[in-house]
């Protein structure tokens, strides 16, 4: 299970910095519930997945990739979620949630496609609502980021949560 330890092989420092800035900016958009700006960071062909995290014995293998997921969306699906977020009648979003997306552990690796990069990151997500509610989740992300004409775009994201049963009623944000 060992892995070569060449840091950032073949990735320029400029690109790395761009990716870091890209993910931090994304987090800020999400914290401000600025979903239009967030959508502009996504590739047309994005696949956005927040996996379920069942407890399974090692002998049974991990969860299947195409298992039921908290979210498994393309761009049109994400737009629908955002349409609801922005709807004045989304009662459960008013008063607004107090979001904080903490992003760290950003690693960038080359892929077979010279314009696409594998990006790892980890996160803590905090959400406050009403008076006493303050919910924390943590997990990992595996992204594919594409470097195109108009800058970086998110092509794929797979989110792994440490929570099996969500310890809050929902995930009313993107991770």
């Amino acid at each position: 299970m060992s892995e070569a330890s060449v840091a950032h092989a073949g990735i320029s420092r400029d690109l790395r910095d761009e990716v870091v800035a890209f993910l931090y900016r994304e987090a800020r958009f999400l914290d401000h519930a600025d979903y239009d700006s967030w959508l502009a960071l996504l590739a047309e062909d994005i696949r956005y997945v927040i996996q379920a995290s069942p407890a399974l014995y090692r002998r049974d293998g991990g969860a299947r990739e195409n298992d039921i997921a908290h979210m498994d969306d393309g761009l049109a699906d994400l737009r629908r979620r955002i349409k609801r977020f922005q709807d004045a009648a989304a009662w459960a979003e008013d008063p607004p949630t107090r979001h904080c997306h903490i992003i760290t552990n950003i690693e960038v690796e080359a892929t077979d496609n010279k314009d696409e990069f594998q990006v790892y990151s980890a996160f803590v997500n905090a959400r406050g609502r009403f008076e006493l509610e303050d919910v924390i989740m943590a997990g990992r992300r595996e992204d594919i980021v594409r470097n195109g004409e108009d800058g970086l775009r998110l092509v794929s994201r797979r989110v792994f949560l440490t929570q099996n049963v969500l310890l809050s009623r929902n995930i009313n944000t993107f991770l």
Partner: protein, 446 residues
């Protein structure tokens, strides 16, 4: 005789007490049933340890050794396919020191070996072997292998793919428990040849609400759809206002189970946002009618919801199946699955796999507007002045009809509290008599 432990007080034996909390004629409910811990403790004994509780879908445990773990009330249970094909269900707690025996959500096992001392149990819960068994050889060890298996759920039975169990050996058979409600269940379970299956695994979330609030919602609350879900509906189907068609919709209940439904045929399906699925439902309507009759073919996929008492809910057309697992008076664990007809083509199943949870699951576009209502309702009950005010369940109490085809207590139009009151009447009936695990010596003399 004296009281001991957090067992039931003697009052719980008196039918009158719980009936006072639920006034089905007057259409009002005492809020304490959503808050008080003692009432909750009684529910575990008198509802969840006595009713037929949903355990699994047969498709989750197709092969020998396949298992899932679940809960009946707060009792952890293993459900598994035995060698001969029968389904075993037993407590997930070792008879030796009580350790949880199976730690996975699902999987395949030849046997269940307890992590603490290695006692090994078979797929029927039977004790297979213990390490150092010679230490139990003497009869003074009171070691009777035949009695030391994991305690079996008293009765286990299936209805068209849904496996249920009850801890009460004297409970009526499942068919009697479901009664005529199978008429409505079949819209979900028997619309197409070959029955149903669950697609993929399970999504779970902990909600800070009493379990009865979501259960009563699914049993009959069409009323909230228009207001609660207008943003979600707008997002999914670009239609803000839902119009009730009271002439062509109904509520019906049987033995505390309830369903409300229209006859539009596609409103629930449409909410998934995939025209292909709507089209599939339309195409299959005639075939379904041949199986279930014209009326139920129109129910199939229509705007509707249903709950099997106490806590198994589903939405036809949306294809979501779920349970509300009690985890304290103010906490409920939601578990959701995608259920599909086996006969559906793979493309439709693949769409459902993502589309159903996208609409209805903890983070579903529509469901996200539900949870907060149930949590905030529960939380409000913390107030003593608030708890004094009874809730209003009076809608449409005049709509009772006789219908030539629909069984059970039937009401014209989706807008009524009739099913909810039937749910709480069933609740009060059960709560007013002792459950199977109440011990005389834990009660105060009257």
């Amino acid at each position: 005789m004296v009281k001991l432990g957090i067992q039931l007080g003697a009052g719980m034996r008196l039918r009158g007490d719980f009936e006072g909390l639920v006034d089905c004629r007057g259409g009002s409910i005492d809020r304490s049933i959503f808050w008080d811990r003692e009432i909750y403790d009684a529910e575990l004994q008198r509802i969840f340890a006595r009713c037929w509780i949903f355990l699994a879908h047969e498709s989750q445990i197709q092969n020998p050794g396949d298992f899932v773990t679940t809960y009946m009330g707060e009792d952890a249970v293993i459900v598994c396919r035995r060698k001969g094909g029968a389904i075993g269900a037993f407590l997930n707690s070792c008879t030796h020191r009580g350790n949880r025996v199976c730690l996975a959500d699902y999987g395949n096992a030849r046997r269940f070996v307890c992590n603490y001392h290695g006692w090994a149990f078979g797929l029927g819960g039977e004790l297979l072997a213990v390490p150092e068994q010679q230490a139990y050889a003497d009869e003074r060890s009171l070691f009777d292998q035949t009695t030391l298996g994991l305690k079996a759920v008293a009765q286990v039975d299936s209805y068209k793919g849904l496996v249920f169990g009850t801890f009460d050996p004297n409970a009526p058979p499942l068919t009697e428990y479901l009664g005529a409600f199978t008429y409505y269940l079949d819209v979900l379970l028997d619309a197409e040849e070959g029955g149903t299956e669950v697609l993929g695994g399970c999504l779970k979330a902990l909600m800070s609400c009493n379990w009865k609030l979501p259960a009563e919602n699914f049993t009959g609350d069409a009323y909230h759809v228009q207001w609660t879900h207008q943003a979600g509906a707008s997002a999914m189907i670009s239609q803000r206002q839902f119009a009730y068609d009271l002439d062509r919709s109904y509520a019906a209940n049987v033995n505390g189970h309830g369903s409300e439904f229209g006859l539009d045929g596609v409103a629930n399906v449409a909410v998934l946002g995939h025209p292909e699925i709507v089209k599939y439902f339309r195409q299959r309507r005639a075939t379904v009618a041949a199986r279930l009759g014209e009326l139920r073919a129109q129910m199939w996929g229509s705007v509707s919801s249903a709950n099997v008492f106490p806590s198994l809910s589903f939405l036809s057309g949306v294809n979501t199946l779920r349970t509300w697992i009690p985890r304290g008076p103010h906490t409920t664990e939601l578990r959701t699955w995608v259920i599909a007809n086996k006969a559906m083509p793979d493309e439709i199943k693949e769409l459902l796999r993502t589309a159903t949870p996208r609409a209805f699951s903890p983070s579903g576009v529509l469901e996200m507007d539900d949870g907060e209502n149930w949590e905030l309702s529960t939380r409000a009950m913390a107030g003593v002045a608030t708890r004094k005010e009874r809730l209003h369940y009076g809608m449409g109490l005049h709509t009772r009809i006789d219908h030539p085809q629909l069984p059970g207590n039937v009401y014209q139009g989706q807008l009524s509290d009739a099913n909810q009151l039937a749910f709480y009447q069933k609740w009060a009936d059960l709560m007013s008599s002792p459950g199977p695990f109440e011990r005389q010596d834990h009660m105060v003399a009257p």
